[in-house]
C-alpha cells in the first residue's frame, strides 16, 4: 500500500500550519479533506482519528496541530463526508463513499442475486462468504448500519432483533 500518491501540497511545509488568511485556509482545508478521503479509500479505512499519522510528515518534521486537524474534520462532517464518533470529537467515520452509496451497492446486490424477501444478518452482509466479491465486503458495522437506515427510510428494508443479533429483511 506504499504506492499512495500524496498531493504536491503534502511536501509543502506550510501545509502543516493553519493558514491565517481565510481564503487560503479554506483551500487548505479542502485539500486536507480530499487527502483524508483519498487516503482512507486507498487503505479502506472507515475510521480516522485526530491522532492519525497522516497529519504528521516525518520527512519534513511537520505536523498539522490538533485544533486545525479537528477543524478539518469538522468541515468534513458539515459537508456530509464524515460523521463524528462520540461527543469527544476525536474520531470520524469517513465517508469516501456515502451511506447512500453503500445502500445502493447493498440493494443492487440483493436485487441481482434474487434475495428480495429474504433475511440476512448484518454479519452476513459485511463478512459472509456470499459477499466476498462485493465492494462492501468488510464494511464497518456502523457505516453498514447507516446504509441500512437509508434503505429502511426508502421502505425497502426492515431491521429487527437486537444487540449482536440484528437481522434485515429486504423488500
Amino acid at each position: 500500500m506504499a504506492d499512495f500518491q500524496y498531493p504536491a501540497l503534502y511536501s509543502f511545509p506550510p501545509f502543516f500550519t493553519r493558514q491565517p488568511n481565510a481564503t487560503t485556509w479554506s483551500t487548505q482545508q479542502s485539500a486536507w479533506s480530499a487527502l483524508i478521503l483519498a487516503y482512507c479509500e486507498r487503505h479502506r479505512l472507515f475510521k480516522f482519528s485526530v491522532g492519525h499519522e497522516l497529519f504528521t510528515n516525518t520527512e519534513l518534521s511537520r505536523r498539522l496541530p490538533t485544533p486545525a486537524a479537528i477543524e478539518v474534520m469538522e468541515a468534513m462532517v458539515k459537508q456530509g463526508k464524515a460523521e463524528w464518533i462520540g461527543p469527544e470529537k476525536q474520531e470520524i467515520l469517513v465517508y469516501w463513499k456515502t451511506p447512500r452509496d453503500w445502500a445502493n451497492a447493498v440493494y443492487d446486490w440483493i436485487d441481482t442475486t434474487g434475495q428480495k424477501g429474504g433475511v440476512l444478518t448484518l454479519y452476513e452482509i459485511a463478512w459472509g462468504q456470499l459477499t466476498a466479491s462485493t465492494e462492501f465486503h468488510g464494511l464497518d458495522e456502523t457505516v453498514l448500519r447507516r446504509a441500512l437506515d437509508v434503505l429502511v427510510e426508502r421502505g425497502v428494508a426492515k431491521i429487527f432483533g437486537s444487540g449482536d443479533e440484528l437481522g434485515v429483511k429486504f423488500f
Partner: protein, 247 residues
C-alpha cells in the same frame, strides 16, 4: 579662411540634409517594396506549408513551436485569426480552425488549471507548473509545451486583463487575477523563487528594508493568498505554492 556665418551654415546644412533625406526615403521605399514582395512570397509559402502539415502542427509539439516561431518572424499571427469574422484573410479560414482552434483549446484548459489552483496560489502560477499539470491530466488531448501555453495565454488577450503572462526572476508566470504585483511584492516573490522561502530576518538582512516595510509586504502577500506561512520552522517562513513543481 573664415568659417561660414552662422545662419548660412544652418541653411546649407538643412538643404543638404533634406536631399539626404529624400534620397534615403527613396532607397527605403524601393527596399521595402522588395522586402514586401519577399515577405508575401514567404507568407504564401507558409500558408502552403501549414495546409500540408496541419496535422503535424497539431500533433508534434516541437514542430508546432518551430512553426509558430516562423509565423512570428514573418509577422503572421496564427492566433489573431481565431476570433476574427468573415472576410478576413485566408489565414482565418485555414488556421482559424486548424491551428488557431487548437491553441484556443489549450487556452481553455490553461484557464481551468488557473481557476482550480487559484485558492492555493492566489492566481499566480508558473508556466512550467501549468504545462506539467496539463500533461499529467489523462486523456486530455495532445502533449503541450511551455511555448504552447504561453501562446495560448496570449490568445486570451482580447478577453481583457484577466489572464496575463509576466516574467518573475527566471520564470514565466501566469497571473489569472486582474491585480498587479507591487514592486516590493515582486522582489519578495523573486527571492522565494531563488531561495524556496523567506523569513523576516532574511529580508531585513539582504534587502536592507526596515521592519515596517518587510511586515507590510509580507502581510500584503498573505492577504492576496500569494504566500503561505510555516510556523513550525525556527523562524516563521513564507513559502509560495506558485513554484511547487511536481517532478
Amino acid at each position: 579662411m573664415h568659417k561660414p556665418a552662422g545662419l548660412s551654415l544652418l541653411l546649407r546644412d538643412s538643404r543638404s540634409s533634406a536631399s539626404f533625406q529624400s534620397h534615403g526615403s527613396r532607397l527605403r521605399s524601393s527596399q521595402s517594396s522588395t522586402l514586401q514582395t519577399q515577405l508575401s512570397v514567404f507568407q504564401s509559402l507558409l500558408l502552403q506549408f501549414s495546409k500540408t502539415h496541419a496535422k503535424d502542427i497539431r500533433s508534434h509539439p516541437e514542430f508546432r513551436t518551430e512553426f509558430a516561431r516562423m509565423c512570428q518572424a514573418l509577422g503572421v499571427d496564427p492566433l489573431a485569426s481565431t476570433g476574427s469574422k468573415k472576410g478576413s484573410s485566408l489565414w482565418a479560414e485555414m488556421l482559424g480552425e486548424e491551428v488557431g482552434g487548437w491553441y484556443f483549446g489549450v487556452a481553455v484548459r490553461v484557464v481551468e488549471v488557473c481557476r482550480a489552483t487559484r485558492g492555493e496560489n492566489g492566481g499566480l502560477i508558473s508556466v512550467a507548473e501549468v504545462t506539467a499539470r496539463l500533461n499529467s491530466a489523462k486523456g486530455q488531448g495532445e502533449m503541450v509545451t511551455e511555448d504552447d501555453v504561453l501562446r495560448a495565454v496570449g490568445s486570451l488577450k482580447p478577453l481583457g486583463e484577466g489572464f496575463r503572462t509576466l516574467e518573475l526572476g527566471r520564470l514565466m508566470m501566469i497571473r489569472s487575477v486582474p491585480k498587479e504585483l507591487g514592486g516590493d511584492q515582486r522582489v519578495v516573490m523573486e527571492a522565494i523563487q531563488v531561495l524556496g522561502f523567506v523569513t523576516h530576518s532574511m529580508l531585513l538582512d539582504n534587502l536592507r528594508w526596515d521592519e515596517a516595510r518587510v511586515k507590510t509586504v509580507i502581510d500584503d502577500l498573505l492577504s492576496d493568498s500569494l504566500v503561505w506561512v510555516d510556523e513550525q520552522a525556527q523562524e516563521t517562513e513564507y513559502w509560495t505554492p506558485a513554484f511547487i513543481s511536481k517532478t
